[in-house]
Symmetry: C2
Subunit: 157 residues, 2 copies
């Protein structure tokens, strides 16, 4: 995930522009701008779609819905993406850095994934992360639920 | 700052080893291991010291105090450090990524620095960040206090 300009963690993304031919093309453009990923090398398909939800925001009236996609890549591709991330057009402005998500819980029962969930996430990025982990089979619904229960942020809600 | 293995934000650091000749030498070794920074190119001096505080932890009885240093670097050096960070020995294990700290507050009064302060920080890393910003003259005590007041985490305490 990225540390955003607003101090919160989130995913690469943005607004579909007039020149984008599809949702996937718009996401591909944002991947290039924010992550330095060439969408020709990492093409998104409709099968990578995770979730969509309605969106209402006074300052962005043209945005009606959020579409979230997850693309599975190899370990070598992750290395290539991380190595190139600093060269992205928006690095240092919209994007303040990239972090991996710890996908484990340490023996104290909190550090690792539950502690990560207590960071400050933009909008529904925290839910999007959880959805993506289930959809890609990285975690089960039960594993997610148990981590969410331990995270302090959830307890406070 | 780094996203740590435990899902929290923190600074590079670790335990002073027997072979370290000084606190500064120990920090230099950790800078190399966690950030890929050559301590010969970026030598720390006693003038870079920000704060020290007593430390008590059952699982680390040998650690008696935390020593925190801040080194001022140029923009070109930041670029070099960021570009090389992924090659650090502990990248992908202890270190899950590096992020810049947003040093501004956006027009809504929360996004930016105050929102960043609502992430999950290890130990006293959040206080260390605030101390370093004052010591280096990047922010005034008044600017820090006003951001801390806006951060939700502080409100909950």
């Amino acid at each position: 995930m990225q540390m955003r300009f607003d101090g919160k963690l989130g995913f690469a993304g943005g607004i579909i522009e007039v020149e984008d031919e599809s949702v996937e093309a718009g996401i591909g453009r944002e991947m290039l701008e924010e992550m330095g990923i060439d969408p020709a090398v990492y093409p998104l398909s409709k099968g990578d779609h995770v979730s969509s939800q309605p969106f209402h925001c006074e300052t962005l009236p043209q945005v009606k819905a959020l579409h979230f996609y997850a693309l599975e890549v190899t370990e070598a591709q992750i290395a290539e993406i991380e190595n190139n991330a600093r060269n992205a057009i928006h690095y240092g402005e919209e994007v303040l850095g990239w972090v991996r998500v710890p996908l484990y819980t340490m023996t104290d029962g909190y550090n690792g994934f539950p502690a990560f969930l207590d960071n400050n996430f933009v909008g529904n990025a925290r839910d999007q992360l959880l959805e993506a982990l289930i959809k890609t089979g990285i975690m089960t619904k039960e594993e997610i639920d148990s981590a969410v229960k331990v995270a302090k942020f959830s307890k406070n809600q």
